[in-house]
């Protein structure tokens, strides 16, 4: 099945520091999965390993039955494996519409064309605008990213990822830095994602996690501590112990 991703004994050491320790992870098509854990648990490293930003020390990654461990980042994107960034990684001085248009042009494989004017690819622009409409960003389509409020930039971050029509979407702390009053719009967007996309949510905000996720993996010091449905995770004494220090309200 194309939308299934799996990691097998995935390891990553930085010198003597083990940041991923034999992580076995599996996510089916259409999953709503959350990856949680205290600071420094290796959550973002896991995203970087899966998307190909850093190579693993050992272990493998399988996407839809295909071993993608050695594929480049862009080859993985072409197979539908898409991420967003914890700290906005946008084309800041370009307009919101241009940001999404760039992503769609890459997906459509027209971005290598250096003769035909970009504006003649009208379908790409229309699609980008529709996506912005769906995310409530249409009013700001022509504003440059730097002129947007932070929460709107987070939405743009998701819009760029969605422009790639992901099969698997890794959302790295989508609500990080978003004012509490605006978190609901992000939740709404995630809840309305097409149901065949597998979503992995890396998040600190437990309200968001328990509202969206149907399955949770807890990562501690590079290891999978436990995984299971939210209610079991919430009741688990080991998880409570890990979180009691900085977050008692699980």
């Amino acid at each position: 099945m194309t939308g299934t991703i799996e990691t097998i004994k995935l390891c990553k050491n930085f010198g003597g520091l083990v940041v991923a320790d034999a992580i076995d992870f599996r996510m089916e098509q259409g999953a709503r999965h959350a990856l949680i854990g205290p600071n420094g648990a290796g959550k973002t490293t896991f995203v970087n390993l899966v998307t190909g930003v850093v190579p693993p020390t050992s272990g493998g990654i399988v996407l839809g039955g295909e071993d993608i461990t050695t594929l480049s980042q862009s080859q993985r994107v072409k197979r539908g494996l898409v991420r967003t960034f914890q700290i906005n990684a946008l084309f800041r001085r370009l307009s919101v519409l241009e940001n999404v248009t760039l992503a769609i042009a890459e997906r459509e494989g027209i971005a290598g064309n250096f003769i035909r004017p970009a504006g003649r690819h009208r379908a790409v622009i229309e699609e980008a605008y529709q996506l912005l409409e769906q995310l409530g960003l249409a009013e700001e389509a022509l504003k440059s990213v730097t002129d947007l409020a932070y929460g709107r930039q987070r939405m743009t971050e998701i819009a760029v990822a969605l422009g790639l029509k992901p099969k698997i979407l890794l959302l790295d702390e989508p609500a990080a830095g978003v004012p509490t009053g605006d978190v609901h719009t992000i939740i709404e967007v995630i809840e309305r994602l097409p149901s065949d996309i597998a979503v992995l949510l890396i998040e600190h905000d437990m309200d968001l996690v328990f509202r969206v996720a149907r399955h949770i993996t807890v990562l501690v010091r590079g290891r999978v501590l436990i995984e299971g449905p939210p209610d079991r995770i919430a009741r688990d004494p080991k998880v409570r112990e890990v979180y009691l220090g900085d977050r008692g309200r699980l």
């Binding site: 994107v77 001085r93 042009a105 250096f114 003649r120 229309e126 409409e133």
Partner: protein, 335 residues
């Protein structure tokens, strides 16, 4: 997954139309060409300088494509300018003076060198890349210096015989042919650069400039695109070098020098980087100023250029075009 919009939005079509039409020609884009033609008639005694300016604009355009659009820094673009100049020069000094094929040969040679150099040095970025571009130019400079029997070394390449353009238009002593030849070549090069920057490829270059991390994450083959634009830019620089060689009938080591790599950056920065027309403003400003300062104050003219640069950096970030843009629309998004 429709999120209800804040309020029913107006028809987006006009906005999308204008977004999609950014590549259309604006009447104002005729301005540089009108100025050039006016200058041809107004200053017939300065046609040689004007031809040099036109050829140098081609060089500045090649740097703008690289630096302004793809965000690739370079302090060694004279490498490709020099390769183009020596290629055209050596052809003309060794019995093949046909100018158009000389230009093409210059472009091809510079493009090949650019491709090879780019494939190696573009793995790095920032200061490291800056040093690498310097090294490439320095190596070619020394190569041309050492191969004195072929290049003439420090004395420069002597004895170029450039044939008439199309077999008809002789390079005359007033520089009329040189001027019109350079203008025509500039027009073609400008069309090439303009087409590229407005294409989907060109837009993806601005993406690389703005956030290379995200370009990787949206699946762009970033390294391939960078080598491609580097090659194209090198070829254009080669055309510029060949133009100067053919119109002055001389090639010296100066074509490969660090000074040339540096001054072309200064000219581009004066005009404005990444806006396509910075070259058309910065190059004439610099070269005319240089010509005037040098005739008024032959010893210290560099001081005045330096002073001008300091003022520009302090008060006019983004060059002349940057100032114009800020006056017109205080905080619009970049194109």
């Amino acid at each position: 997954m429709m999120i209800s919009p804040d309020h029913p939005s107006a028809d987006p079509k006009p906005m999308l139309d204008s977004f999609a039409r950014r590549h259309r020609l604006d009447p104002r884009e005729a301005l540089p060409w009108l100025v050039a033609i006016a200058a041809y008639f107004a200053f017939p005694d300065y046609l040689a300088l004007q031809a040099q300016i036109l050829a140098t604009i081609v060089f500045a355009l090649s740097v703008d494509l690289l630096l302004g659009y793809a965000g690739i820094v370079t302090l060694g673009h004279a490498a490709f300018f020099g390769v183009g100049a020596y290629t055209a020069g050596l052809l003309a000094a060794n019995g093949w003076g046909e100018p158009l094929s000389g230009l093409l040969a210059g472009a091809l040679a510079a493009g090949v060198v650019g491709f090879v150099a780019g494939a190696i040095i573009l793995r790095t970025s920032g200061l490291t890349l800056l040093m690498q571009t310097l090294v490439v130019a320095a190596m070619l400079y020394e190569l041309a210096n050492k191969a004195g029997r072929i290049t003439g070394g420090a004395d420069g390449l002597q004895g170029m015989q450039v044939w008439p353009v199309f077999g008809t238009f002789r390079f005359d002593m007033f520089g009329k042919t040189a001027f019109l030849y350079c203008l025509a070549v500039l027009l073609i090069c400008w069309l090439v650069v303009r087409t590229v920057v407005h294409s989907a490829f060109g837009r993806s270059l601005t993406g690389i400039r703005e956030n290379v991390l995200r370009m990787h994450a949206i699946g762009a083959p970033v390294d391939r695109r960078k080598v491609l634009v580097y090659t194209l830019s090198a070829a254009l620089a080669g055309v510029a070098g060949a133009l100067i060689a053919q119109t002055t009938q001389f090639v010296g080591l100066g074509t490969l020098s660090l000074e040339r790599s540096g001054t072309i950056l200064i000219m581009l920065i004066i005009g404005g980087v990444g806006q396509l027309y910075g070259s058309f403003i910065g190059v004439p400003l610099y070269m005319i100023a240089q010509d005037r300062f040098a005739s008024v104050d032959p010893v210290y003219w560099y001081f005045w250029i330096g002073l001008f640069m300091v003022v520009l950096v302090l008060f006019a970030r983004g060059g002349v075009l940057g100032v114009v843009r800020r006056l017109r629309q205080p905080d619009g998004p970049q194109k």
